[in-house]
């Protein structure tokens, strides 16, 4: 890496550090940034900046907001991956020419999970609570519809609905939990008592 690239990377990390570090440690982030800018050797500056960035991220994760953001991203990412599996299943069902509405159901479910995962990451827990509540209502309607008819593959549909209840309920609870945790003074106090950042 050339002189200017390493220097620029180090300084960019210094600026990034100011944004990453929790507000209670803003003074320390400014101190580290000042050192990064003062180090003349580009390699040493980059190495120093990488260490500082690590400190910033570790401090950030030791805040309630940081931990909740990681949880939100993790649940969102898992949901998106799951949706891709369901969509792949829909594609496979379509290719295999499985009779009935299974490919369409898998496709719809895959899209719903994809939207829920992306909504959780992009808009936060309230969005996913709304989607999960809607899907639970839809599941109930589906269960009632299945009960009324003697469709082919009725057991498969019923199993899908029951599985859907579990998954959407889990997402609903995750959303409610994340929403409540973000507003809980008790959690903030507990975190502070355990040495977490404000």
């Amino acid at each position: 890496m050339s002189y200017s690239i390493r220097t620029r990377c180090a300084r960019a990390l210094g600026r990034h550090l100011i944004r990453v570090m929790p507000p209670s440690r803003a003074d320390w982030a400014a101190a580290m940034k000042a050192v990064i800018e003062a180090i003349g050797d580009p390699g040493a500056a980059l190495s120093f900046a990488l260490g500082c960035a690590r400190v910033g991220y570790r401090r950030r994760l030791r805040t309630v907001a940081g931990a909740l953001a990681v949880t939100r991203w993790s649940v969102g990412t898992v949901t998106v991956f799951f949706s891709l599996l369901v969509l792949a299943n829909a594609w496979w069902s379509l290719e295999s020419e499985i009779p009935g509405a299974l490919p369409q159901i898998f496709g719809g479910l895959g899209v719903a999970f994809l939207i829920a995962g992306l909504a959780l990451v992009r808009f936060g827990p309230v969005a996913v609570v709304g989607i999960a509540a809607f899907m639970l209502a839809l599941n109930t309607a589906a269960l009632l519809a299945i009960g009324a008819d003697s469709l082919p593959f009725v057991e498969v549909y019923r199993a899908l609905v029951i599985e859907g209840y579990g998954l959407w309920l889990a997402l609903l609870l995750a959303g409610v939990g994340l929403h409540q945790a973000a507003r809980s003074p008790r959690l903030v106090e507990l975190a502070r008592q355990n040495g977490w950042e404000a």
């Binding site: 440690r25 003074d27 320390w28 400014a30 101190a31 580290m32 940034k33 000042a34 050192v35 800018e37 003062a38 180090i39 190495s47 120093f48 900046a49 990488l50 260490g51 500082c52 690590r54 400190v55 570790r58 401090r59």
Partner: protein
Amino acid sequence: MARAPNISRQTRLALSTLSGQPQAWRHGYDLCKETGLKSGTLYPLLMRLSDQGLLESEWRQPLEPGRPPRHVYRLTAAGAALATATATAASPEARAVVAGSQASLGGSA
């Protein structure tokens, strides 16, 4: 017999380095170089010492114009006392560092 304070090797190293010149204000990068600790290890340690009232810090204007102000650090009286207690209870090397620094300060005074 007094029980040795339960602190990490890195903290002992930083304390002994800072207590080498107890009245001098030290830069973070100089401390990194002197202790051999990486910035990712040193700064959390400095933050903890500061939180515990063992380290004081302030902003200093740079000697060269155009440079940003720098944060500097030194031990408080409590920090210096802990450094001495740690050095006497710790390894012979740490004891030697603190003893050497105290001797040089005594000689120069």
